[in-house]
């Protein structure tokens, strides 16, 4: 039996990028706490091309706003590296970009604190080209350290030929019968996570402004939408849509289905993570580990969706696809008008 690589290897690059961003946050926080008493109120937070201050924030909101910005970038970069862990050949470049951005933003955040410190009023604060040079240098150093630390691109979790798809038991369709199978699918922990992100975003928006909170809130909405879905098998094929909404949805029409079966799926091993995923030769929804409907498409690739009672769904889908194939030639359409 082939041994699957430990998941920690696949998570190394995202962890390195996340660590780089957390270091940037820590650097900013340290600089802020050290020089807090020397900062003017309001603080200069935005600078024109010539280096003069042209945007200001009250001292009370300043640390939240900066940390919010840094954390949103941390989430974005870590998400980017995780999402494209297997799907891209530019793995090292992405890790470099993620770490470089951490260095750049960390250095800028510290420079803003340092240049504000000791100023009588925020109008007098200047952020010269020197600070920009330091930031670029920090970015280069962070990227240079991050790329080797991130390691090589992890091995792709390819579709294993020996992974046994259990053929669906026969589902006998009667003449002219209309059939539907539908079930809610999802993951409670992911929904709790999405809800918490949404709540955190909602709290952050009044505290630290739109820019900081909106990213978190949107992330929460996307997470909730991805992990509360309805799976339906009917005369149209296999459909996965956001619970309670007709769209967005993913539909596999019957004429694209070669065969349907079911099998236990492990999200990280089989699809490289959770949510709507694509790896070479396979795509689908990995919402939890356990039974999944596995559809072999006419193109040869696989579509997977984890859902309870996958055996019934697969059996019905197989029978419907077969009926579709046999009636495709003849003009008999047995569906009654809606």
């Amino acid at each position: 039996m082939p041994v699957s690589p430990p998941p920690a290897r696949g998570l190394r690059a995202p962890l390195v990028v996340a660590a780089a961003h957390l270091l940037a946050c820590a650097a900013f926080l340290a600089a802020f706490l050290a020089r807090r008493d020397a900062l003017p109120d309001p603080v200069a937070t935005h600078f024109s091309g010539s280096g003069g201050a042209d945007g200001f924030t009250t001292l009370g909101a300043f640390p939240y706003e900066m940390l919010g910005m840094l954390l949103v970038m941390a989430l974005l970069c870590t998400g980017l590296v995780t999402g494209f862990l297997y799907a891209t050949r530019a793995h090292r470049r992405l890790v470099g970009l993620g770490c470089g951005l951490a260095g750049l933003l960390g250095a800028v955040a510290v420079s803003v604190v340092v240049s504000n410190a000791g100023a009588e009023t925020a109008d007098a604060v200047r952020l010269g080209p020197g600070a920009l040079g330091v930031a670029v240098a920090a970015a280069a150093v962070a990227a240079g350290l991050g790329v080797p630390a991130g390691g090589r691109r992890p091995a792709e979790p390819r579709a294993k030929p020996d992974a046994a798809v259990e053929p669906a038991p026969r589902f006998v369709l009667r003449e002219g019968e209309s059939v539907l199978w539908t079930r809610r699918a999802g993951s409670r922990p992911m929904l709790v996570g999405g809800g918490s992100l949404l709540a955190a975003g909602a709290v952050l928006i009044p505290l630290a402004g739109w820019a900081a909170g909106l990213g978190l809130a949107l992330g929460g909405v996307v997470l909730c939408a991805c992990f509360a879905v309805r799976v339906t098998v009917d005369r149209h094929g296999l459909t996965v849509n956001v619970l309670g909404l007709p769209r967005p949805r993913v539909r596999i029409p019957l004429d694209r289905i070669a065969e349907a079966g079911h099998r236990d799926v492990e999200p990280l091993r089989d699809l490289g993570g959770w949510g709507y995923r694509a790896v070479p030769g396979r795509s689908g929804f990995a919402l939890r580990s356990g039974p999944a409907v596995v559809v072999r498409l006419t193109t040869g690739s696989e579509f997977v969706v984890t859902v309870d009672d996958a055996a019934t769904a697969a059996a019905l889908l197989d029978a419907l696809a077969e009926r579709d194939r046999t009636t495709a030639g003849s003009a008999t359409d047995t569906t009654a008008g809606g």
Partner: protein, 120 residues
């Protein structure tokens, strides 16, 4: 939740839909408090009229198994006893069908049930 509609059966399509949903509630394939598919989506899947699906949902509402709210659609009654109630309703339907098949009159059947209740 599996719904099979036999267009040739003497049982009305709405009743067939109600029976399928009732079975799903009884088997906990649909949980108390869970939203059922929208009537329009269900009608489109099955190739029947929306009103046919709504007739089925209305029947389940009369049985106290689901709640129909404007704008929220059909929701399984958020009561942990819902699966048990669905099984009970299923049992009553089976009882009536058995009685009809045996030629037992409605009045006789009611008397039998009353006797069963009295002798508990």
């Amino acid at each position: 939740m599996l719904v099979r509609l036999d267009h040739g059966s003497p049982v009305p399509l709405g009743d067939q839909i109600a029976a399928a949903v009732r079975g799903a509630i009884a088997d906990a394939a649909v949980l108390p408090g869970e939203r059922l598919p929208a009537a329009r989506a269900l009608a489109d899947s099955l190739g029947v009229n929306v009103h046919t699906v709504l007739r089925g949902y209305q029947r389940l509402r009369e049985e106290g198994l689901i709640e129909l709210r404007r704008g929220r659609g059909a929701v399984v009654t958020p009561d942990p006893a819902a699966p048990g109630r669905a099984r009970l309703t299923d049992g009553v339907r089976a009882l009536v069908a058995d009685a009809r098949a045996l030629g037992v009159s409605d009045e006789e059947l009611v008397n039998l049930v009353r006797g069963g209740l009295a002798g508990r």
